[in-house]
């Protein structure tokens, strides 16, 4: 997809009147272990703010354990934050009665593994029709059938196969079923958690292109969460980089990838394997060790234990997400783009 430059979202500095579709502010989520857990609480997400505007794709990258899946689940209301708030067009998600039904309808999710997120005992028709039934969007069985056929056509599946079961489809086709289900309620926002990482590489591109196409035809806003930097770069207008439950950097894709300001983003870009043998032997930033456990995140800047720029100040004072050029980074020594 050509991430078309969108003035309203460009710098993340929403200097316009446009209201975000989805806004998260100060999200925190901590999982407390059961009686047998020795480690203590896992601080999965520790203070994330973001805004999603109509028709844009916000990519979130990060390594395992950085909290990106927990963030995704909070953004669709599957998980209630301990602190902070998610709002849809200004209306809070988490009310006393749970997430209001009409908000649920407008914010949908596509999961990573289509085999485990589709009920194996339901036909594709029933899977895609379920949201229609729950939200009472079809007056009768016939209309529902027609609508399911329409949705399957939209995601590139032959509608005459709607009476089959998920196992009769290939991995890429199953993911299309998951996407059709998410589209059934005509959502304004779809949150995709690693939507292509379970797919074969020759099939990934089909699904990535499908997302792009759907966005340009339906204008739906996407939150695209993945660990594959190149895929996220390809689909996103803006990108957020997460490390241990926090955003390390956030901004327009071209800025974050072209001129990363946070050392972690630099290291991540530098470590990603590139399918170009001629680039071998380029100087790369090699981080030492693994990411620390989210059970006991380091004090100060969470990245300071692996950072080559770290000083004493980093171990003590936690940097805030601040503007650096056209984007935002949480580092005391962020490279100020020239």
């Amino acid at each position: 997809m050509a991430p078309s430059p969108e003035p309203t979202t460009a710098g993340g500095r929403a200097a316009t009147a446009a209201e975000p579709v989805l806004r998260a502010s100060g999200l925190h989520k901590t999982y407390h272990g059961g009686m047998l857990s020795r480690g203590g609480a896992v601080r999965a997400v520790a203070g994330v703010d973001l805004e999603l505007y109509a028709g844009e794709t916000l990519g979130i990258v990060g390594e395992s354990g950085c909290g990106k899946s927990t963030l995704a689940r909070m953004l669709v209301g599957l998980e209630r934050p301990d602190q902070g708030e998610v709002t849809f067009r200004g209306r809070p998600f988490f009310t006393r009665g749970g997430v209001p039904r009409d908000i649920r309808r407008r914010v949908q999710m596509v999961f990573q593994d289509p085999l485990t997120s589709l009920n194996p005992r339901m036909t594709v028709h029933d899977i895609v029709a379920e949201p229609l039934r729950v939200h009472r969007l079809s007056p009768n069985a016939r209309a529902m059938r027609d609508r399911v056929g329409e949705l399957l056509t939209l995601v590139g599946l032959p509608p005459d196969r709607m009476n089959r079961f998920p196992h009769e489809f290939s991995g890429g086709q199953r993911q299309r079923v998951g996407i059709a289900r998410a589209l059934a309620t005509e959502p304004d926002v779809i949150v995709c958690d690693e939507p292509v990482s379970a797919l074969d590489m020759s099939v990934q591109a089909q699904v990535v292109n499908l997302f792009a196409e759907l966005q340009s035809t339906l204008g739906v806003a996407l939150v695209f969460i993945a660990h594959d930097l190149a895929v996220v770069r390809h689909v996103s207008h803006r990108v957020g980089v997460m490390y241990l439950g926090k955003l390390a950097e956030m901004g327009p894709a071209a800025e974050v990838y072209g001129a990363p300001a946070h050392p972690y983003t630099m290291a991540l870009m530098s470590a990603a394997p590139v399918p170009k043998p001629q680039l071998r032997g380029r100087s790369r930033i090699m981080l030492a060790g693994d990411p620390p456990s989210p059970v006991a995140p380091p004090p100060g800047c969470r990245f300071h234990t692996r950072c080559w720029k770290a000083t004493e100040r980093c171990a003590e004072v936690e940097p805030a997400l601040e503007a650096v050029g056209d984007h935002f980074a949480a580092c005391h020594y962020a490279e100020r783009a020239s």
């Binding site: 395992s64 001629q278 990411p291």
Partner: protein, 333 residues
Amino acid sequence: MSEAPVLEIRDLHVTFTAHGREIPAVRGVDLTIERGQTLALLGESGSGKSVTAKAVMGLLDQPNVHVRSSVARLAGRDLLTMSAEERRELRGSGMTLVFQDALSALNPVLSIGDQVGELFRVHRGLSRKEARARSIEMLDLVGIPAAARRIDDYPHQFSGGMRQRILVAMAVALEPDLIIADEPTTALDVTVQAQILELIDRLRRELGTAVLLITHDLGVAAEVSDRVAVMYAGRIVESGEVQELYDLPAHPYTAALLAAIPDLERPSSTLRAIPGSPPSPASVPPGCSFAPRCDRATGMCSEARPALRLLDTGTGRRAACHYSEEMLNGALA
């Protein structure tokens, strides 16, 4: 290249029998790896790359699996005429396997020292004390901090990257001729993946071991391999020197794969997706397996299966496509 290759496999076939049906997972694969060289075996899931690795290791000795090949030699020793006992001795000392998932490859109830030390005790007959000392050396070599203190820890006490380092330590411990690394970094994070790939590459240079790297990641293969063999539906469809193969693919599948992955530097408007999905090993189309998804396919492709043949590039390039010459000439023109 007068020296005999470390690994030489000719015409390897692996057939599984399930519910009375024969499923040919590998259908005639040739592999040659020279000393100190890394060969990447690149393929998608179901292409037969992991089965190939297991067959080479001799780990498919089961009643419902049929493995045959015309030549199988490791460092000049014939694997076909060897007894099961001799072959078992070779595993762990002559050739070793690094698995994808370190947590399930390590025994959770034995300490790391016991597991690494076992290699020295079983294969080299060292005493417990000597084995322990050598184990600490190995863990040092692969960059485990404070190895002497951590030797009595159990696998769950290490992070994912550290566990993978322990597997690598076990793989190189007895200085094998060949290391087979089956998706060694797929379960790891990007920053840790880079560390492990660099570690394997450093050990290959220092010890002169040959490496067979099984991967589905075009990026990983480009970073560390000398030669690449691309597998599709149980066969090698193209092989050659890494740079040449990436620059000028001679098989449409390789070309399509390279075009289908997004480029970090040049985000284009749409990715050139490959239509359809890979065939199931149980029902591979006749003729060229890739023909139904190929944009160059003609009537000939669905009838006559192209053999993997040497192209006259003078660089040992092989491809199994009727139109390889056109592809190479077309790219140059």
